[in-house]
């Protein structure tokens, strides 16, 4: 299991908080990522380290269909987003770009900011302190996309076969 530092967020974290509208038309994700979570945390983009995980409450990623939201997180090296539940489009987008979006009902109440957790994605296990939580498994179809590294890689593979 790999160790990850926790960034803890509340319920209903919406896409405008993940990446505000005014930055969406910047030419690249590279330029956009500096503004990740700007309304919520000063300099998140500078502080987050590759391999960190986000743990949040219910309805993470509600709001718009902007794929920029999961993409800035992936670009910053966020290893996975673990939430009680996800908004539909965010969930789909995350899988499509190869960012693990993991549903785990109990995690939110059991962690605090800066905790270190261990995550085993292949088994769907999240270890917090001495406790090991089991995460909800993805439908097989979505797992296949995620395993391919995202929908585009999945498509490119299909094209070869």
């Amino acid at each position: 299991m790999e160790k990850s530092k926790v960034w803890k967020f509340n319920h209903n974290v919406d896409t405008d908080q993940i990446i505000p509208s005014q930055y969406l038309l910047l030419p690249t994700i590279e330029e956009m990522k500096a503004y990740t979570f700007e309304p919520l945390i000063k300099d998140f983009a500078k502080q987050v380290q590759p391999g960190d995980v986000i743990i949040a409450g219910e309805n993470f990623g509600c709001g718009s269909s902007r794929e920029q939201a999961p993409r800035v997180l992936k670009e910053l090296g966020v290893r996975a987003v673990i939430a009680g539940s996800f908004a539909r489009i965010f969930f789909r987008n995350a899988i499509n770009i190869g960012l693990p979006a993991i549903i785990c009902k109990e995690a939110y109440d059991k962690v605090k900011q800066d905790d270190v957790v261990e995550l085993d994605m292949s088994e769907g296990l999240l270890k917090i302190g001495d406790e090991t939580l089991t995460c909800t498994r993805l439908p097989e179809y979505m797992q296949t996309i995620l395993n391919a590294g995202g929908l585009i890689e999945f498509l490119n593979k299909e094209e070869v076969e």
Binding site: D16, L25, N156
Partner: protein, 418 residues
Amino acid sequence: MRMTISEKIIASAAGLEKVSAGEIHTVNVDRLMSNDGTTHLAIDMYNTLLKKPRIADKDKLVFIIDHNMPADNPKTAAAHKKMRDFAREHGIAFYEGKGVCHQIMMEEYVRSGELIFGADSHTCTYGALGAFGTGVGNTDFLYAMVTGKSWVLVPPTLRFHLTGKFREGVYPRDLILTIIGDIGADGATYKVMEFTGEGAKAMNINERMVLANMAVEAGAKTGIFEPDEAALEYLENHGRKPKYLFKSDPDAVFEKEYHYDLSKIEPVVARPDNVDDVVSVDEVGDVKINQGFIGSCNSGRIEELRTAASILKGKKIADGVRLLISPASNTVYLQALQEGLMDIFIDAGAMIMNSNCSVCWGGCQGVIGEGEVLISTGTRNFKGRAGHKDSKVYLASAATVAASALAGKIVRADRVIA
């Protein structure tokens, strides 16, 4: 058959006799819409990541520039140019400055019974005509653009029975905010909200759009109405015919049923920063406003403009308050001009913007500053949605927004008229 409207549309798009909630199916997409919020990214991916870049059927694609229209900085302009050049090169239907994408789609393309993907969350609007419209990200969009197909998880349906009639001064907008307040911002996640009953039937297509459009704010995959005479008439007026006229079977399975008596609905607002923090306008207290906004894919149509004009006629908005009005499309703009509504707005001191997304999405025209308060007919009131991260957005009906602009604070329209 035991299927809902949504299940029937998905089954037909998947080429199957029957589908049920929870199944994942590959579907053919009837139409694909993308706007300037993300198309530049999809084009970059198309050009750099695909092994075999191709477009399955260019005639199914529609590109619409509406979010930052006209452009207010060179980077936005570059994103627009990328989109315009790509549309031109590939012969893709292209709209720039003609209106908000969902309004254009309803006026020009959507047919009952179609399955439509849009790279915008409010694509659920098309359910007003009995189409299954849903928002996707630009990777999903790209996949469908290349293959003509996508996958869907068949959603369960929540059914909302609407009975009775709205009282004077209460609008579909108040109803949908009330419903979201009741079921919560994730109350319909991954589900369909189907609206039915005499109250639904009595609404025209524009009014149904107000409801369907905000289904996503409760997390829904789409909001949908059974296509009826009103839908057929709308299609005919716009020179189109339905693809299918599906109805939910009497024995279809609904996950849950809700009942709303329209005569009991009050004018409401959603308070910052959550769409489900909904209270009666009277309960909101003394809230001074800096700006009002009437427009968006939710409430920028002729009905809302007429309502606003009836309240603003012969009056002046409060000193120091800005009132922005953006018709949802140039067709709406023209009609408002012809009906003399624009003259009323201009005389009242409002600003009439070209048809665009404006402050509803907060990336461009009309953004509000630090500590400011906006009352809006837009779709969302998230933190920072309309501009500065420390600004606040209240969502309300066009009537409440117009009245509040006159009073300089949030008030019920009938209080101002009286």
